[in-house]
């Protein structure tokens, strides 16, 4: 749901294999902001069976899903997590048991995606800057890496992420606004972008320092010369250092029982929340 482009939304919908995908929106990180929910339906209602789960209006019959959240979420093709504050979101999810439901959804092969906080949450660790110094936040841990979003939006982000990884945060991935990381199981498959110049990086320890390796990023829009580009596998890029392979790709649970896809598209598109009355942050 970027302001200027729906390329990333189209991309993630294409991962579902469903003609009319069931898509559920979780706007928790924005405090279930009405305008964000409206924005979601505008974008997805025509082509999908769209629904949303509100954790703040569960008593008000506001049109969202009210009763059995678990059953509803586990029947989706795609779960789309909105941006906002990742700490508040994870706190509310845990209070309603949604953390376990989402892990189960992932093991079931439901595509999980989201921008900003909706990206950070899938990882083992995330860098969050909110009310003071940046800190490490423990996410749901379905992806055994760390994650940093809005990598180009603030000058200090890159240095902070390097410092955290240098200080023991697990190796991971940084994405600029407009760039999405597509994981299948726990392996990075593609990095795609809605912007011609969007970049993403693998950041890891090397010797006594931290090494940042650019990933091959596929622009999803039309270039003047040719038509739409198909996303190229990251692993095919020499400079990717095949890092995802080198780190622990073996998940203790679930991996073997995963259904056909178990794809996680952690979109780090961060045009912030579109149509938000004020900027929000991860």
């Amino acid at each position: 749901m970027e302001r200027d482009s729906s390329l990333l939304d189209d991309y993630v919908l294409s991962l579902t294999d469903a003609e009319r995908p069931r898509v559920c929106f979780l706007p928790t990180a924005s405090g279930d902001a009405d305008h964000y929910v409206v924005r979601f339906y505008r974008r997805f209602a025509a082509s999908c069976d769209a629904s949303h789960v509100s954790l703040f209006r569960r008593d008000q019959g506001a049109g969202g899903v009210e009763d059995d959240l678990s059953t509803h979420l586990l029947a989706q093709d795609l779960i789309y997590v909105g941006g906002g504050n990742v700490v508040s979101m994870l706190g509310a999810w845990r209070a309603h048991g949604l953390d376990d439901v989402l892990r189960k959804a992932w093991r079931k092969g439901i595509v999980l995606c989201g921008p900003s906080a909706g990206s950070l949450c899938w990882f083992d660790e995330a860098l969050s800057a909110f009310h003071g110094a940046p800190r490490s936040v423990r996410g749901l841990g379905v992806l055994p890496y760390s994650n940093c979003v809005h990598y180009d939006a603030e000058p200090a982000r890159r240095a902070e992420y390097h410092r955290f990884v240098g200080d023991g945060m697990r190796p991971g991935f940084a994405a600029e606004d407009g760039v999405a990381l597509h994981f299948r199981r726990t392996r990075l498959e593609h990095a795609v972008s809605s912007r011609p110049d969007g970049c993403a990086y693998r950041v890891e320890h090397a010797g006594d320092g931290v090494v940042e390796t650019p990933l091959k990023v596929t622009y999803l829009g039309k270039t003047p010369a040719d038509g739409p580009t198909a996303a190229e596998p990251v692993a095919g890029a020499a400079q990717s250092t095949a890092a995802p392979r080198r780190t622990r790709t073996r998940r203790r649970t679930g991996r073997r029982t995963a259904a056909k896809a178990a794809a996680v598209a952690a979109a780090a598109s961060g045009e912030r929340l579109p149509a938000s009355p004020e900027p929000v942050t991860a």
Partner: protein, 280 residues
């Protein structure tokens, strides 16, 4: 997270009797836009001539409606007011402990009690608020923002009303909207009877309890007719004591006009959803 550690900006604790909490069963700027009595009472509790008031709209998900209502109420009153969002970037550059520990009054809004507590805990605000209370900051709030200070309350965060533990700064339990949302009361009474919840208070909309330390000091109301009761379980039986609130202001507030029309409409919808029919 540095929450809970002493540090710069931390004030020394005040004697227990000077720690204040004002818990409302409903009312204040979000529910009574035309009736400022409870909010003025809150302001009067601070020792400072021009108190610093911080609004926490967390339980609502930081809705614009609550924030706007807060600003509308306090903008032309003698205070320094701001709100703290745990969802939005605005003013997110200062450490939470700095913001929380410099206030004279902290006012928590209504909404989902379950989300409120979970999100406060995720940010370490639970211990910061306890620290502020011990240092003499007045804690106030309505509905979820009132029950949160007690050992427990009755929340509708997941739909049907159910008991939920609070922060436990105050002994006992609290249930709110005893008149406006009557379906809460039986759940609370059952909880007190079977020991799920400790004994405590049931408040109508417009009624507030003022605690000095752990002791109930005053019971006040913004409208005539609004009531409160204390309920305890003694040998398996409920013992109910009616409390008569002192009416704030000149007593000319309308009993019906007090509650915002949108709130009344929402409650009609609730009742219809639950098959209780239209009753007012």
């Amino acid at each position: 997270m540095s929450a809970g550690e002493p540090g710069a900006g931390a004030r020394p604790d005040v004697p227990v009797a000077e720690r204040m909490i004002f818990a409302m069963g409903g009312g204040g700027f979000t529910m009574e836009p035309a009736n400022p009595l409870l909010d003025d009472f809150v302001l009067s509790l601070a020792a400072a001539k021009q108190p610093r008031v911080l609004f926490l709209p967390t339980a609502s998900g930081d809705t614009t409606a609550q924030i706007n209502a807060f600003q509308a109420r306090f903008a032309d009153r003698w205070c320094v007011h701001e709100h703290l969002s745990l969802f939005r970037l605005r003013d997110a550059r200062r450490p939470l402990r700095e913001i929380v520990l410099e206030q004279d009054i902290i006012y928590a809004g209504g909404g989902s009690m379950r989300n409120l507590l979970a999100i406060w805990r995720a940010h370490g605000l639970d211990s910061l608020l306890a620290q502020a209370w011990r240092a003499g900051t007045v804690l106030a709030g309505l509905s979820a923002g009132a029950m949160c200070w007690f050992d427990g309350g009755v929340t509708r965060s997941s739909g049907p009303p159910e008991p939920l533990a609070g922060l436990g700064l105050l002994d006992g339990s609290l249930t709110v909207h005893a008149d406006g949302e009557p379906e809460r009361l039986p759940v609370w009474l059952a909880g007190v009877r079977d020991g799920t919840l400790p004994g405590g208070w049931a408040l109508d909309d417009g009624v507030g309890l003022l605690f000095a330390g752990l002791r109930l000091e005053r019971v006040v109301s913004s409208r005539p007719g609004a009531g409160a009761q204390r309920v305890d379980q003694v040998a398996g039986e409920l013992v109910r004591t009616r409390l008569t609130p002192e009416l704030l202001g000149d007593g000319r507030q309308s009993a019906l006009g007090g509650v915002d029309e949108a709130v009344q409409e929402l409650r009609r919808l609730h009742r219809m959803h639950r098959g209780l029919g239209e009753r007012d």
